[in-house]
């Protein structure tokens, strides 16, 4: 069951969000990026933000444990995200980014070892999505990636005269309870580009991996901009004189040279070919084998912003036959 918002009430609807807490939405600065909103007029919903949604849930660098006098101590977190009971609301995320959260949930939430820091953020950040009417980029291929209508609190779908708001969570329900109800199954956008899903194991030793990886410069943009890349490094940061510091995690990339380095100096995935193949197969094969769902959500960022314009979708579609 969803709700209906009149077009003339749209601005007030956003102002309500802004007053309820910290509102974060896409803003055009040097590029389109998620940012704290001062004036709701600044919000730009056309196009997909440069950086994906994941950074609000898995920050680039974060403290896992405190180290005090040579001992590791757990972080004390406030029950609510902000002391003054203000909520953090992210508005304007696209369904590909939101599905990225479902993927992260599988490893950081519904897992044998749930991650406390991630769980805390997931529970305290409200996600309000916006449905794409047309694909924001020619590189989008989400309609072939079976996106699911899940992992958001609210999602806006623009119709001719009004907005339909899909409600998934109890928190979301409370935010829109004053609006009239309606039942509507909103359509997903149709992208021109599509990934031809297939079993890639028979092509593991194929030469086409080499063609693509030869152009790769290991700039790691693909992993930074991916809404589902989560690999991280753990390290200690300490002041030697006080023995105080932190045990931290930092987002890492499988395209980095030292990613598979072991003590003694041996690197297991030592060539770009191996690194590139590992990333692509992790996205469309390894995760699928384990969770019966592709890790790629089809946002197309890794292709659009690739330094060498490597297009793994094209390679899979055209060359692996």
């Amino acid at each position: 069951m969803g709700r209906v918002l009149k077009k003339e009430d749209y601005k007030n609807f956003l102002i309500k969000f802004k007053n309820a807490g910290e509102l974060i939405a896409p803003v055009k600065t040097d590029m389109l990026r998620f940012q704290k909103i001062e004036d709701v007029e600044d919000i730009k919903l056309e196009g997909n933000p440069f950086f994906p949604l994941k950074k609000f849930f898995l920050p680039n660098e974060e403290i896992l444990l405190k180290i005090r006098n040579g001992l590791t101590k757990e972080l004390k977190r406030k029950k609510s995200f902000f002391s003054n009971e203000k909520k953090k609301i992210i508005f304007g995320a696209k369904l590909c980014d939101i599905n990225g959260l479902s993927i992260l949930d599988k490893l950081f939430l519904d897992h044998e070892y749930p991650d406390e820091a991630y769980k805390y953020r997931r529970e305290n950040i409200i996600v309000v999505g916006v449905n794409c009417l047309t694909p924001p980029s020619q590189h989008c291929f989400c309609s072939s990636m079976d996106l699911k209508k899940e992992s958001y609190d609210l999602l806006l779908h623009e119709r001719e005269n009004d907005y339909y708001i899909d409600v998934l969570s109890e928190t979301g329900k409370k935010l829109v309870k004053y609006l009239p109800e309606e039942n509507f199954d909103y359509p997903l956008p149709e992208t021109r580009k599509k990934l031809d899903k297939k079993n890639l194991w028979p092509f593991f030793a194929d030469n086409y991996w080499e063609n693509d990886s030869e152009q790769c410069v290991s700039c790691q943009r693909c992993t930074i901009l991916c809404p589902t890349c989560f690999c991280f490094d753990m390290f200690d940061n300490i002041n030697p004189s006080t023995r105080n510091g932190n045990r931290k995690r930092k987002i890492d990339s499988c395209h980095s040279k030292d990613f598979t380095k072991v003590a003694g100096g041996h690197v297991f995935r030592d060539t770009r070919l191996k690194q590139y193949r590992h990333r692509v197969l992790h996205k469309v094969q390894f995760f699928e084998d384990k969770f019966k769902r592709s890790m790629c959500t089809g946002c197309g960022r890794c292709i659009e912003h690739c330094h060498s314009k490597i297009d793994f979708v094209k390679t899979i579609n055209e060359d692996f036959k």
């Binding site: 896992l64 757990e74 003590a263």
Partner: protein, 264 residues
């Protein structure tokens, strides 16, 4: 909710120097890992390191540490009575319960002997449940032999085949000089009702498996322990992932036919 990365502090009871660059830390703890599992050892401020466990079912946990990196170097400088942080145990173990009534062949090289020491301690308590037990352990030189005291005991209880790659000086164990794979090739072992437990450098394991396959052993009777730098050990960080398998939670011990031919 508790953080999965939080470690507990334990006291070092004893430190035994095993060889030039190997020490064994004996730690008083209630952590009771199965043979083949590993723990994350850490010194706050320096970092964490995954170390395989080398003992079974005792109040004391033995960790054989080879000095190769920052954390292990710092561990080697620790003294008795100092405290280290541990979390775990993590990963899969050798399925010893399942292998009851079989002949066991343990093949290891260098510090790969350490996890198999846990297997041997497990077997010692249940010796009658298993048939013949063959040990094939290879080291670089007589100086590098680990668990020297125990080797004497193992020699009397099991069929111990100890070898060294080279013996430039003295050879107190009088063990044959040559790779452990050569000894394995010449050994009189039968594939009938036998299982293999392997741990060691990748080259040694590859060669041993080829030799054993030629001798008629089937790959579903081999259990190997793979190694990577596990950083989170909870199936997330991705550093130990090989072909979609997280070695920290899906491994480190695999039945060989499940991982045969996996490439990076």
């Amino acid at each position: 909710m508790k953080s999965i990365y939080q470690a507990k502090r334990y006291k070092i009871k004893d430190i035994q120097r095993q060889s030039n660059n190997n020490i064994m830390l004996r730690i008083k703890t209630k952590i009771n890992p199965s043979p083949g599992q590993f723990v994350e050892v850490s010194i706050p401020g320096i970092g964490e390191s995954p170390i395989s466990t080398a003992s079974y079912n005792k109040k004391i946990l033995d960790l054989n540490v080879q000095v190769v990196g920052n954390v292990t170097e710092a561990l080697a400088k620790m003294r008795i009575g100092q405290k280290i942080h541990l979390r775990g145990p993590y990963g899969t173990s050798y399925p010893l319960e399942q292998l009851k009534g079989e002949n066991l062949i343990l093949v290891a090289g260098g510090c790969g002997v350490a996890p198999l020491r846990a297997v041997i301690e497990y077997l010692k308590e249940r010796r009658l449940d298993y048939k013949e037990i063959h040990l094939f352990f290879g080291f670089r030189s007589p100086k590098d032999i680990l668990f020297k005291e125990e080797m004497k005991e193992w020699k009397s209880l099991y069929h111990l085949n100890l070898s060294v790659d080279k013996a430039p000086e003295e050879n107190p164990f009088n063990c044959p000089v040559g790779f452990v794979t050569q000894i394995l090739e010449e050994a009189d072992i039968s594939a009938d009702n036998s299982s293999i437990l392997l741990c060691g450098p990748p080259v040694m394991m590859d060669k041993s498996i080829t030799i054993l396959e030629n001798k008629g052993f089937s790959t579903d009777k081999m259990w190997i322990s793979l190694e990577r730098h596990m950083k989170c050990s909870t199936g997330k960080c991705g550093h130990c992932m090989v072909n979609g398998k997280y070695l920290c939670i899906d491994g480190p011990v695999f039945r060989y036919d499940k991982v045969k031919g996996i490439d990076e």
